[in-house]
């Protein structure tokens, strides 16, 4: 016999409540204690729990509608009901207009981030974060508000400046554990490791064309292959051919690794993480793309396991998305080297005595001079350049 769910009396004086959100839809399974809906009364938002188990059969009062205390708002049946609708399960959503540092992304010109995702995006009940704000439609009151005379109202620019100033760090800020660790390691690296730097300018025209062709095949399952993925694959191949670079300093000895585990430096809210793509020697370009995408998602959600953070034999740091020409990165000890990647830019180049325009990218390899000498670093970089300028090699297995 189906159970009726009625508008609860949440307070002595309550006469009616508004259904603000249904957390169960028609066809969803309901267990005792599950939250059915959020009900608003005055300025309080209450969660209504199910006292019976079953399947949601009917919703009688829709979101946004009000019903008196005691009115039937839903019916829960014993077994099967209408066909269950699929709902999207989003990952935790960050506020839309906050400026968050992007984790490594392809060194191509970035489009402005599109505002506001789709309707119907809901975090699961009890989720950690609030939801980004949706839709920009104007209600009549809002329109009237906006039409108020400008005199006496601050300009948006002034307010905008104050908002960003207010949100800026100020005073003395103690470091979080993550930042403290980064600080210690960086200081140690600079102090202990004799760095030298080798720079190369790579013509990325073919690589970009390859990426576009791959996208045009329509065969990319799971997501697009970015230029960053091409770079990671090229680094992996170059390391296979120059195993001396895939090495670590160990107190008077050098440890060479069979496995190629590439750390991808990723900016997160509180600092820097370097999650590791393991076993790159066995990964195809497609494998690398999907693994890198996954790591990126996890970085955004702060969800790494310690396994994913250890064991890198080489690192890549990419500031290309910030329009940087070139830079030198600090080595992550005990690794022998780190590759710093700049932006792909149109530059004037000389070819056979003629001026031409090419899309080039500058990379800088920082090397530990105890492990590598100049020639070894330069040869590795030369290999990397050759692979990226003839990128069809990257697609072979």
């Amino acid at each position: 016999m189906p159970a009726q769910v009625t508008m609860p009396k949440l307070t002595d004086t309550m006469e009616e409540g508004t259904i603000v959100r249904w957390l169960k839809q028609v066809g969803d399974r309901v267990e005792v204690g599950d939250i059915l809906a959020e009900i608003e009364t005055d300025k309080a938002d209450m969660e209504l729990e199910a006292s019976e188990a079953g399947v949601m059969q009917e919703i009688k009062v829709n979101e946004g509608d009000t019903a008196p205390v005691g009115a039937v708002i839903a019916v829960i049946g014993a077994e099967r009901a209408a066909k269950a609708r699929t709902r999207e399960q989003p990952s935790p959503v960050q506020p839309v207009s906050n400026s968050v540092e992007e984790p490594t992304s392809p060194p191509e010109p970035q489009k402005a981030k599109p505002e506001a995702p789709v309707a119907k995006v809901e975090p699961p009940p009890g989720s950690k974060t609030g939801e980004a704000v949706l839709n920009r439609s104007r209600s009549p009151e809002a329109a009237r508000q906006a039409e108020r005379p400008a005199a006496g109202r601050e300009t948006d620019t002034a307010l905008r400046t104050r908002a960003s100033k207010a949100a800026a760090p100020h005073g003395r800020v103690e470091l979080s554990k993550m930042r403290l660790t980064i600080a210690k390691r960086m200081a140690e690296a600079k102090r202990e490791v004799p760095h030298f730097y080798v720079t190369s300018e790579i013509d990325m025209g073919e690589a970009v064309r390859l990426r576009e062709s791959l996208e045009a095949t329509g065969m990319l399952v799971g997501g697009p292959v970015s230029v960053t993925h091409l770079i990671i694959k090229a680094v992996a191949l170059a390391l296979q051919r120059h195993p001396r670079v895939n090495a670590a300093w160990d107190d008077g000895a050098i440890v060479y690794s069979e496995a190629i585990n590439i750390g991808i430096a990723t900016a997160v809210e509180d600092g820097l993480l370097v999650p590791v793509l393991r076993g790159c020697e066995e990964l195809s370009l497609a494998d690398i793309a999907s693994a890198a995408r996954e790591l990126n998602e996890k970085a955004k959600g702060g969800r790494f396991t310690s396994d994913e953070m250890l064991g890198a034999t080489f690192s890549i740091s990419n500031l290309g998305m910030l329009d940087v020409d070139e830079f030198s990165a600090v080595i992550n000890p005990p690794q022998a080297a780190i590759l710093a990647v700049g932006a792909i830019k149109e530059r004037a180049v000389a070819r056979a005595g003629q001026l031409a325009i090419a899309r080039t990218m500058r990379v800088t390899l920082s090397c530990d001079h105890r492990v590598l000498n100049g020639v070894e670093g330069a040869r590795f970089l030369e290999e990397l350049k050759r692979l990226l300028e003839n990128p069809v090699a990257l697609v072979m297995g």
Partner: protein, 215 residues
């Protein structure tokens, strides 16, 4: 069970919200006693579940201020520096399972706190919140999960009120907001206001008289 006052200092909204959620879960499971969070946020707009996003009037985009939609009642509001925000995470016991009464109590706490600093504030029938004349000095927006409260109140001490003028606050287009700084010569600092608010809160919710509360 004694109330624990947790001063989060200045904390970005999303991170404070995560702490609320953690505490809420622990309080529901009776792992911790009632909590009172005190916090000052970086500029942020928040919306209740039932709020109309149009009442933001695009302020979040124009001003570069983040916006969050959260599980509390009420419309759109602003939090920012100079505003004392308090999140009581308390279990409404058998005798107190009345959310409207809870909100009246929150109003009382704010009214007493204002009085301590020379501001004569009052409640207004049919308009939850705390008022000084025609202007609103404090807003209330509450969430309840398994009869444990979260979210709470925001009291303007020296808040930059222009951020309210950019939106339709609390579903009231003609609403004027005010702050202590507008009403008294010497507004308290946020820590001072926080200390007073938590004393008044304990007084009302734990039944301690001022004389019994430690300095």
């Amino acid at each position: 069970m004694a109330l624990v006052v947790r001063d989060l200092g200045r904390l970005e909204y999303g991170r404070a919200l995560a702490q609320q959620e953690d505490c809420l879960a622990a309080r529901i499971a009776d792992q911790i006693p009632d909590q009172l969070f005190l916090v000052e946020h970086d500029p942020v707009y928040t919306l209740g579940r039932g709020a109309d996003a149009a009442e933001l009037c695009g302020a979040d985009v124009r001003l570069g201020v983040p916006a969050f939609r959260v599980s509390r009642g009420g419309g759109v509001t602003f939090h920012g520096p100079g505003q004392l925000v308090a999140y009581p995470i308390i279990k409404l016991g058998r005798a107190g399972r009345d959310v409207h009464r809870y909100m009246r109590q929150l109003e009382e706490v704010i009214i007493r706190t204002c009085a301590d600093f020379g501001v004569a504030a009052e409640r207004r029938a049919g308009a939850t919140g705390v008022w000084v004349g025609e202007a609103k000095i404090a807003s209330i927006g509450v969430g309840v999960r398994r009869w444990v409260t979260f979210h709470g109140l925001a009291l303007n001490i020296s808040t930059d009120l222009s951020f309210f003028r950019a939106i339709v606050p609390c579903r009231m287009p003609a609403l004027e907001m005010t702050s202590m700084a507008e009403l008294v010569a010497e507004a308290p600092t946020l820590p001072q206001a926080g200390a007073t608010l938590s004393t008044r809160f304990r007084e009302l919710f734990e039944g301690t008289t001022p004389a019994e509360v430690a300095a």
